[in-house]
Point group: C2
Chain length 425, copies 2
């Protein structure tokens, strides 16, 4: 599972911190999950759906049995590729007896409605971030999940990246003491990819706060233990032609005194992949191409951005290689300070810095979705809640909404619905 | 003055933003200052004094005429090297008629006493950061400077780095709109360099809050315009054997709505020079050497850390090359988001990212001290206040003390003594 990038002497130094080589190896690698069949139905064949389909194909233990999308082209491509059932609406997908887990990757404003429909049909759920647009919607989902006794995992987010999960396990094992300070930053082209109108409207769940900040919140909460106390934040619109949040920065205080800062810009100017050896978010090598998303938007003059988006980023249109990328998926730079060491995400996994020096851990190729399937399998096999369950998801949604409130009111906002990450995670 | 790293096409693109090539060139380069003789006396020949001596030697327009230090070795070396007067206390240095500017690089707890002594003797002052340890001390310095009609500049800080000053001028010229978000982060070995006892005692001005955070505050205030509204911060002790702040992170809100985040760790684990092509704080190429400062401390067993520090970092002991380093001085990574572009510090200067792509600006070799001398010359020639004057310095000291207060009280702290950076800077 693990390959080692540095020489044996360095590995021995690191391993000497642990009780045995085997203990350290099992700490860093993704734990095996019990086998449990997942017959997956995909609600929404846009970009998020296409990425989930690819991850399911690569997983080996997931069957793609159905999909729903109102657009003919991606639905037809999916039905053809997987000899699968196709529906033009999510309600019909939820009635399909071949489906036992529904992935909801529909536009944000439909997350609550579709999650509740899936729960009512007795389906387990993988619910794309953001969980919902309001805490009232989160509560409605929570109630439905509890009433119908189904399992819900919130994801995909980059908290499932193997590097983040491995760092979480190093912390939980206590090797370098308690986490004290986390910083995560990401500079991308997010706001200049082609967008549907609602994606440019904050009230409809558009902008980076509803789309990108959930990754940072989940990374911070996963590494910091989960229970936030407050947030002080700013966010802003940079470009009046894209009138929704393009930037945000925040100071997060955990109940136990750990703190975190997050910085995000989706302006397509600087790109922090520059600090990540020009490896992109998915883990693939890339060219710099500064501001190229801004320029591409102009090249499609005549087509609406909704049409551009459908043409470029739907299932079937988006060509994804059927193997995990060379490097690790990531969401920018994440650096953790603990009492006896620091760690950061790296192109090939993560690096641990301690009193002996720097130790690079290269992890196995990954789509970043293995953790979602494994958490779901573990929950379905044991009957326990998944780690990123509906309560966890509501806590992250609370943090996201509080960031927006703090920015608008220019004051610190307390958080009251926070949940802890289990210690054994 | 300027060398260009990229090709002509890219330069033309950038220059097209401006009215003419000459306008852009004069914007990026350090403006010339009127000639004004500086006969400098150095109070304190430790590390800060040694760096100031080197900067004065390289400036060409500064004469090193005297120094004061209670320790025989550095004082003797200085007197020999410059055929200069030497004193064992600062009061005597201030009486030296050959001196017209006193640089105060004595331990922090003496800054106020020595600055007031210099002012009373009619000397102009370059006062090392932190200006003082309390706002009451700042006020006493302010009163003395006004009463005796002398000029005071607070520095050195990395706000004087040519890359920071050039970015400030690009902002002031309005080419890429208003500043909206700033982030600055630095991970160093600071707490594991040999330390005198008071340097490990926060109440005596030790730890990173009094020593390193002033650089970040000055960088943020210089780029953001100066007038902070509030701070929300955390800081912490990591190692009980070095019982003062080793880490700090903060969220800064400016009156005009610009916000900034700062992150600092001096734990000698991760080093952010890794994101800066392994160019060190001074601008010199370096090897990674993770955790080497921790290991070196142990190699000097038998000597106290005060003795180690004197042996390694005093004038005469510290061997500094008599030329500016190959690359630019810096204080970690600083990234600025403006309405129509982003900029960041780079090993050779700064990079501007706009809708046309990335533009690297390579600046002339620098010690990072030219701006101090130029601001002082400009002030002495014109009779105007220097940019980083006593009011500016008090505002930065207020911000530093507020960071500590916010961390202790876990709440946002308002700032009320803030001053603006002049628009023509």
């Amino acid at each position: 599972m693990i390959s080692w990038r540095r020489n044996r002497r360095q590995i021995r130094k690191l391993l000497s911190m642990s009780t045995s080589d085997a203990a350290m190896t099992s700490l860093v690698e993704e734990p095996a999950a019990p086998h449990h069949p997942i017959n997956l139905g995909i609600a929404g064949l846009g970009l998020a759906g296409a990425l989930m389909v690819r991850a399911a194909q690569l997983d080996g233990g997931v069957s793609l049995v159905a999909a729903a999308d109102p657009r003919a082209a991606p639905l037809k491509a999916f039905m053809h590729d997987f000899d699968a059932n196709g529906y033009t609406n999510v309600q019909d997908l939820c009635k399909d007896e071949a489906v036992d887990v529904v992935y909801i990757g529909t536009p944000h404003q439909f997350h609550a409605e579709h999650a509740i429909a899936a729960a009512a049909a007795g389906k387990h759920i993988i619910l794309e971030k953001p969980m919902a647009l309001t805490l009232a919607e989160c509560d409605a989902i929570l109630e439905a999940v509890q009433r119908y006794g189904v399992c819900l995992v919130v994801g995909h987010t980059h908290a499932y990246d193997p590097g983040i999960r491995a760092m979480r396990r190093v912390i939980a094992a206590g090797h370098i003491g308690r986490v004290r300070m986390i910083t995560t930053l990401n500079y991308t082209d997010f706001m200049y990819r082609p967008r549907r109108p609602e994606e440019l409207d904050t009230d409809a769940g558009g902008g980076i706060v509803f789309n990108q900040i959930p990754h940072q919140i989940e990374i911070i909460r996963t590494l910091g233990g989960g229970k936030l106390r407050s947030v002080r934040a700013s966010c802003g619109v940079l470009d009046p032609t894209r009138p929704t949040e393009t930037i945000a920065s925040a100071f997060w205080d955990f109940k136990d005194g750990t703190t975190a800062t997050s910085v995000y810009s989706g302006a397509d100017f600087f790109n922090s992949d520059e600090f990540h050896d020009w490896v992109d978010e998915s883990g693939a090598p890339r060219d710099p191409q500064h501001a190229s998303s801004r320029r591409k938007l102009k090249h499609y003059a005549g087509l609406s951005e909704s049409e551009q988006r459908a043409q470029q980023f739907s299932y079937g249109a988006l060509k994804l290689p059927l193997h995990a990328p060379m490097y690790q998926p990531h969401f920018g730079i994440t650096i953790l300070t603990c009492e006896r060491g620091e760690m950061r995400s790296s192109p090939s996994g993560f690096t641990l810095y301690d009193e002996h020096g720097a130790h690079n851990f290269a992890l196995s190729p990954s789509t970043g979705y293995e953790g979602i399937f494994n958490d779901l399998r573990l929950a379905l096999s044991t009957g326990n809640s998944p780690r990123h369950d509906v309560h966890w998801g509501k806590a992250s949604a609370e943090a996201m909404l509080a960031l927006l409130q703090s920015a608008r009111e220019r004051k610190e906002v307390a958080l009251t619905h926070q949940t802890a990450m289990p210690h054994d995670y």
